[in-house]
Amino acid sequence: MSDLPEPSEAATDMRRSLVKRLWFVLPVLVFVVIAVVLAVTLGRQSNEHARDLPSALVDKPLPAFNLPPVEGYEAGLSDADIKAAGVSLLNVFASWCGPCRVEHPIWMDYAKQPDAVPLFGLNYKDQPENASSWLKKLGDPYRKIGADLNGRVGIDFGVYGVPETFIIDKTGRIVFKHVGVMTRKDLDETILPLIARLKG
């Protein structure tokens, strides 16, 4: 009897060992797939909008509210004011919020545009005197501002990080929420086209 197996036997052996090897490779493949998925999601996490959460208020009507004015102002802000204004923007801001200062020039600039929709302000948990001096010093781009001193209206709007900006349609429904600094790019590429669509 020869030591070498018959040729056909060698072939089946080889096939069997190949299958066996595949079984060893499979977990590695699974691992690689999982690792790639995790790496990609991790990479996405590190971008600036990672903390953005889907808003529960999108597609819902404005919550009812009636806020007093910021110190030194005559009128406050209510949901009726916003509903009466048609398509509009509501910007949640505070003098203590650094990013709000960063986006402030964008709003000053926007409010000057001839085709700008009304911009309303929700002054979130501010010290009354700080809010009014902030607006005096940097300018006031808002049509009307409500002072949400204890942050309850903010909670009704699902606010969790100032600044936040809401787009409201003609029927008084919230259609979009932007969390964080409003950049030129965000305004030009997302906000303004959406407003144009809502107006049209």
């Binding site: 903390r51 959460l53 889907p54 808003s55 529960a56 208020l57 948990k125 204890n150 942050g151 309850r152 909670i155 009704d156 709007f157 699902g158 969790y160 990080g161």
Partner: protein
């Protein structure tokens, strides 16, 4: 100004801010406060995101804790309080997400994987047992004698 001085300055600037931070006002009724605490442990802090509102020091977490206390004191049931927050902040505010098609993978993924893994282990074992069960050809006379010699040699 060197960095040490800057650090001390930063600390001194931060000091009054921490002393302004709002302090929790627990409810006087211990059972209501216990309920509020339990609810607060089920609510995610939206600022820090990995923590419950009960554990977080964020300003918003404080506001939400106080809000939950108010609603519990006003006689709202646990479900009503959670619904109130869910309507404003969505699924994310609940540390235990609701079971719905979008969260099926979250809820049923691990058990399904466990079952798949269990079946794989079972199949592997059965396969192995079958292979081991194949009885080897018995030793012939010569081999047995050789083995006996070897085993005897092994003794002390």
């Amino acid at each position: 100004m060197n960095w040490r001085a800057a650090l001390i300055a930063a600390f001194l600037i931060a000091l009054p801010v921490t002393s302004w931070a709002a302090v929790d006002r627990p409810l006087e009724d211990a059972t209501l406060e216990a309920r509020a605490l339990k609810l607060n442990q089920e609510i995610r802090c939206l600022v820090c995101q990995g923590q419950s509102v009960a554990d977080s020091n964020a300003d918003l977490a404080y506001d939400l804790r106080q809000l939950v206390r108010e609603r519990v004191a006003a006689g709202d049931s646990d479900a009503v309080v959670l619904d109130y927050l869910h309507a404003r902040y969505g699924d994310f505010v609940l540390l235990e997400p609701p079971v719905k098609p979008a969260t099926y993978a979250l809820w049923f993924g691990p058990p399904v994987l466990l079952v798949i893994g269990g079946v794989a282990v079972l199949l592997f074992h059965r396969h192995n047992r079958k292979r081991n069960a194949a009885t080897p050809t018995p030793l012939n006379e010569a081999e047995r004698r050789a083995l006996d010699v070897l085993l005897k040699d092994d003794g002390p």
